[in-house]
Amino acid sequence: MTGAGIAVTDADLLAYADGRLDGERRAVVEAWLADRPEDRLRVEEWQRQNAVLHAVLDPVEREPVPPELTAVLRTAPRRRALPDIAAAAAVAVAFVAGLAAGYVLWNAPAEQASLKELATVGLDAHRVYAVEIRHPVEVGADEEQHLVAWLTKRLDTPVKAPDLSAEGLRLLGGRLIPSGDKPAALLMYEGDSGERFSLLIAREPTARMTSFRYTEAGNVGAFYWMDSGAGYALSGPADRNRLLRIARAIYEQLDN
């Protein structure tokens, strides 16, 4: 009997069931199984599990990929061009502070939650205020200086109203809205055909730069992202390309 003297472990049986053994070892396991019906039953059960899991999950792989997933890859903002030494130092600092690279990943959930919430708050506010004919904003663009100073004070973070005239949008004004238990700023813009876009700005002291994410509900869509110290959500009619152009313009203007 080949390999009768070599103990066959559970790990061997698992590897056999998963088809991971080379010829020689496989022969040893097969010889072992020939005499042990109870192990053979287990191996067959595991192979049946593999078949079941493939049958249930493989169809997912053949589904068309939802466009919002491929959009993530196209919309990531370019990273700031740091000089190499500064970049290396930043990595080193992040590494030490995080104790291990795993830190950044473990830290992600909190960031993920507040990011998603940003989009929800932004979309909700947009739906409520963008339809207002007479009172879409609390403070109008004619008092832009006052608006910006007021929001900066309440949010405790610098608020600027990006100039979106290159995108065919003019500032209507802004208002203070609640985001969770914190104040946030909502700036409203209007285009030539009366279409409106809202930019939510919330203070996020621990925010690091993220990519753009896109979400859509009904006929309203939003791009949302974080940059150092603040979170942003741009909501408007669900035209992804136009929203993205505007989001990029905002990102570039606020990026300094």
Binding site: Q47, L57, V60, L69, G102, V104, P109
Partner: protein, 161 residues
């Protein structure tokens, strides 16, 4: 090192499959994938190569682990979409429910080995655990799954191999 966007895009179908096994329902799974892709781009500098696939699956495993903790054992809503080919809806619900009853630490190595075809060595690296731990978790996952699926009516399966 910079990651190849096209290669990353090519991994999306497999990432969606893994995520569906982790999260059960489609929209929760696609949220995980979206987060995973965004993180992969954000963390591009941490990619040391040589292979993108295990690195991205490691990110998705992390995202899935924390998401699952947060969901606090919500019931499985396996979406029953008639457009889906493959196993019949009852089988799908049964299997996804059995999967969701496993702890993450068992579900992840099981899916990576049985469905995604990673080697045990790769799984150890992806999950950041010793290979012996991979084997013992796989063993427990398979034993629990066998109990859960016992007696359940599993139909419309094609046999593999």
């Amino acid at each position: 090192m910079p990651i190849d966007r096209r290669e990353l895009e090519g991994l999306i179908p497999a990432l969606r499959r893994y995520a569906r096994g982790l999260a059960g329902d489609r929209s929760a799974a696609d949220d995980l994938v979206q987060e995973c892709l965004a993180l992969a781009l954000d963390r591009e500098r941490q990619f040391r190569g040589p292979h993108l696939r295990p690195w991205v699956f490691a990110i998705l495993s992390n995202v899935g682990r924390s998401a699952h903790r947060k969901r606090a054992r919500a019931p499985v809503l396996a979406d029953v979409d008639p457009a889906d080919a493959g196993a019949d809806p009852a089988t799908r619900v049964t299997v996804l429910a059995a999967l969701s009853a496993l702890p993450d630490e068992q579900r992840q190595p099981l899916l990576l080995a049985a469905v995604e075809g990673f080697t045990y060595r790769e799984i150890a690296d992806i999950l950041g655990i010793p290979i012996g731990t991979v084997m013992s978790r796989l063993s427990r996952a398979r034993a629990t799954l066998a109990e859960r699926l016992e007696g359940a009516e599993i139909v419309a399966l094609r046999r593999t191999k």
